[in-house]
Point group: C2
Amino acid sequence: MNQRWSLSALAIGIALSAPAQAFEGMWMPSQMPQLASELRSAGFKGDPAQLSDLTAAPLNAVVRVGGGTGSFVSDQGLLLTNHHVAYGVIQYNSKPDNNLIDNGYIAADRSAELPANPDYRVLVTVAFDKVTDEVLKEARGKSGRDYFDAVDAASKRLVSECESQPGYRCSVADMYYGTDFYRIKQLELRDIRLVYAPPRAIGNYGDEIDNFMWPRHTGDFTLLRAYVGKDGQPADYSADNVPYQPPAHLQMAKNGPREGDFAMLAGYPGVTYRHRTAAEFDNQVNHVLPQRVQVFDQLIDIIEQQGKADADARTRYASQLQSLKNNSKRAAGELLGLQRSQAVAVRAADERGMLAQTDADDRAAIEQLSTLLAEQTALRDREFLLNVFGSQSQLMRSALMLQRLQVESQKPDAQRESGYQQRDWNNIEAFLKQVQRRYSPQVEKALLAALLGRYQQLPENQRVAEFDQAFGRTPAQLASALDKLYATTTLDQEAQRLSRFAAAREGQPMQPDPLIDLAARLIPAQLSLEQQRKTWEGEDLRLRPAYMHALFDWRKSQGRALYPDANRTLRISYGTLESLQARDAVTYAPVTTVAGIVEKNTNQVPFDAPKRLLDAIAKGDFGDTADPVLQTQTVNFLTNLDTTGGNSGSPVLNANGELIGLNFDSNWEAVSASWMFDPRYKRAVHVDMRYLRWLLAKVYPAPHLLQEMQVD
Amino acid sequence: MNQRWSLSALAIGIALSAPAQAFEGMWMPSQMPQLASELRSAGFKGDPAQLSDLTAAPLNAVVRVGGGTGSFVSDQGLLLTNHHVAYGVIQYNSKPDNNLIDNGYIAADRSAELPANPDYRVLVTVAFDKVTDEVLKEARGKSGRDYFDAVDAASKRLVSECESQPGYRCSVADMYYGTDFYRIKQLELRDIRLVYAPPRAIGNYGDEIDNFMWPRHTGDFTLLRAYVGKDGQPADYSADNVPYQPPAHLQMAKNGPREGDFAMLAGYPGVTYRHRTAAEFDNQVNHVLPQRVQVFDQLIDIIEQQGKADADARTRYASQLQSLKNNSKRAAGELLGLQRSQAVAVRAADERGMLAQTDADDRAAIEQLSTLLAEQTALRDREFLLNVFGSQSQLMRSALMLQRLQVESQKPDAQRESGYQQRDWNNIEAFLKQVQRRYSPQVEKALLAALLGRYQQLPENQRVAEFDQAFGRTPAQLASALDKLYATTTLDQEAQRLSRFAAAREGQPMQPDPLIDLAARLIPAQLSLEQQRKTWEGEDLRLRPAYMHALFDWRKSQGRALYPDANRTLRISYGTLESLQARDAVTYAPVTTVAGIVEKNTNQVPFDAPKRLLDAIAKGDFGDTADPVLQTQTVNFLTNLDTTGGNSGSPVLNANGELIGLNFDSNWEAVSASWMFDPRYKRAVHVDMRYLRWLLAKVYPAPHLLQEMQVD
């Protein structure tokens, strides 16, 4: 791994530059035994079989927390996760006179542990069962929308049966794109409390500037505690509740890792696309990402131009502008990375090899899949533009949302489209209220003119009659339609939106308004497009398993196992601490030290290291948490582990299964890893547990917690 | 060298963090023999005695070119220097239909070599004689202004005698701050021609973005040729001239260097302050630099605020704004570096050690020097503000310049202050003309209000009666004075400035104008401040040698030699190729490769690598210029050599005295090296001669030049 990028290889052709397997893989625990020899040669000293059961130690110590991952670190329900995963909990407990984000928090004892926001959840996996036959039984022989509905209905039934036992949350996970289905049963802990949070200037040191960056110097960790009722069952917060006693917890290591050491990580990675077809890779690199950059940059330009003349609009669109910039930057970074890895050519060559040894039946299904994907690709521009059309407007989006709510609210609540059920009303109302702070008619018209102007240039087969009727076929008709709509709508007044919301949620007709009336004409088109999407989804579920079978066999013939693409289920990655040659002549060491905190410190947010921390660094009193070779305190470390969004808070274990780190980010060069794992660039960024221990021992002391974690 | 910054040393105190001597030193050639053992232990394989004579090989191959350094690389006057040193020559030869900056240039043969702008000069040192006694003879026993005048008169006489021989330019150099004086005699070559320049996108790849940066990927070189008359004497351009046959030239190495290899460099470093007193270090770090940042940032803020409302002013002040930003950034970088190196404490401890072993006579003179410096320090704020007051205005500066010109023009030309002689008239006229493009009354008033507002807050002893009378003592009086001046002046019209210029240069009275009249009242104060500065300078020249004697003895007792601070005379530095740990966990290798050109390429200025270069890199046909270990083409390399501004174009030699590189920049971390050499951070950036050879061999071919340099 980490070879210098060979230019002669570039010159000779892509065959040589296909990335090595290296430590690619977000493995299902059940796959670990078959990786035994790879694990051992990487340095693992435990029994791979012990990693195969999600419901046994150590994996049952790894839980879902908020939007990320966490792990139990004591037998009294003490939970370790990221500062950014627990951010809402810390914020929820802030008071005007005590901002816990800024100040951090140390609960002196259990009575001082602060209850989280009531919707904060910790999920402990207690069962993981293969349910492929049950899910597919009714679907077999069907196709399209029928296939989709059959899978959907079976999944919902399985979830509902499982959730009949109170205190549990269940889901059905689709592995290998429709090939296998698993039912996951999770204990749902509802009383979570804040135990220890470092100040923001430690937990989020560097913030956006250092985001995706290495070298890193961030103490992105927080300790929570899960509580249950006196009967040991999940319960809402109550002063009488008692600490949850997890089935297992992780033991913090006494020593820290160094370059080359084995490391492994368990967590809930979100979504990857590694096993998508060569055509999908081509579409992503040569169409989707460039289009995303181009359209987002156009919208950015429009907002900036409008903002130059209008300070008020500048303020109102600051947040949308920032978000567009982040999205554009991320897409550009993903594009650059995939080009650098020659992802399209590498995946195409790989797929050609696979197809050459695939049997006729699977090939026939793969042909059908290709046709399906081509059908979607032919309409991709429309899909993209109409999606952005909805998401980047305020008044237009309000009108569409209200109109759809009115349609859905005429059905029984359970049959309403997700997002329009009674449980969603609060969110809808909140959206309708915030419009006031984020809307300017000039900017919205300019954004819609740009997006619909692009739409007007689409070929006939991508056009939708309702949109053409509403906005015309020429830029002049479009401009005139938008001018008329925005000159006469009253939806820019909050009271007008909220009174229509009151009607729509009851399924009642709304008072007329030009935008509401327009939405009424557009919603049927929207519904018909949704119907088509579900048909496609059903066909995809039906056909893609053939592709996955072929890929599985192909990998087997290469002597490689196949992990399922990430789907928010528990996975294991393993690898080593590895340096990064990010650019020519630049080498990043895999361990950072407190010297970097001092170097980066500017006394200005986000590099405003607390004086207490700077003093402690200057004092140099690191004790047994110092690295024996570097002779100073380490802060973060870097591994080649396979991760993606959702892995935030994943525990990192050493060769003996002891806790050495806490995953919190990856490097910018790896932003394309959701599609392709390139061992030269894919790294994950972790908090070194020695830094946590030092902070708790010497800087913001919490000796009782070190004692509880048995590292005092 | 290059040790990890030890935090425990930080904690223990500064004693441990005093920088090691390492490869600090810009040595006079005459000092090389005494460094023989150090040179050999660094890897030098030649005879150090051979480096002691500026007028013998190899040093007589090193010449002054334009504002930098160059070296002869063939016996036919072929000269190697930086692209940025020869920039004016390239630009001078550009035509509307052939921009040589963009396109580069290759002279197919001698007849195609293009004459430089007529004022472009190459200076070959032919004599270097100690003239201390002659310079100081009349000064001894004097003090203050008399001492200054005696040194000045003696120096001018020595120069004038020397220049009586046509074709030579002479100067007197002050070494060790008034301790020693040398007369330098240089052959002045006036017919210089452009032979080979790479395109801008190679010669200035990365431009401002990569300036001061490492890793670097810039081919910052150009080949010129010096011509003389048929009689071998310097001559203006003529088609009949013949190539100058230099007394010596450098031989290009066949192999390139790698990390740890010996390297040495000869050139004309500009100004350093390494041997200034501890009090001057303290003043620089704790006052001068912070003040510079603060005042420049205030001016930046004013221009940006004014520019927000006034697009025209934004354009007019773009260049001044950029220059202020560069100056502020540079001052901030220097400050940061000196703080990181604990320069004040290190220098103070060093000086305490020195004074403890200095004899009574020198100590008495050093005491007087301290008193003198304290006197200057007491007035430093006024000096700084009045200096910026003149330089950051347009109309005010025009008025002061015109008034001073009128005063000086009443004297014989030779006695006029430098800058106001007949030879300076073109420059003055050009300045008076460009005002039109760079002036806005609102911005100028705002800038002057800020600077004079600061001046008004100075204590009584720093105030000047003439300024107080002109601008009042309160902000209100100042604002009213400025409003009145700028409401009524006519100097904002070019014709008004130029008609007064015509009068002033003849020493005639000028037509009245509020700003001209104000300048007439301020000039006497300006002259009196100048008189005081020359008195200080005389005292400094008289007293500082005692400090230098003491320092010389102190260094000797430490077993170290003492080099003079840089003063634009020929110096030698030696050291090795060394990596740079610029920040925690970041290591920069000392050699870059063409892979970095591809990585940085965006197809946008300044990272718009030519297609021909990119194709050649992709082709990978590097031949014998490829590095045998890296197996690819190198571009730039990094050494720990001691350099500063003026070293641009210095040849870098290997242990055998062969040419391996061309100095062109230093790293951002070393911007504080003008005051203190910190071996952890001081590096110099060079073009690898293998890159030049590859470009000439394979990319933009010039086989005849490779043949002439005997590396074909």
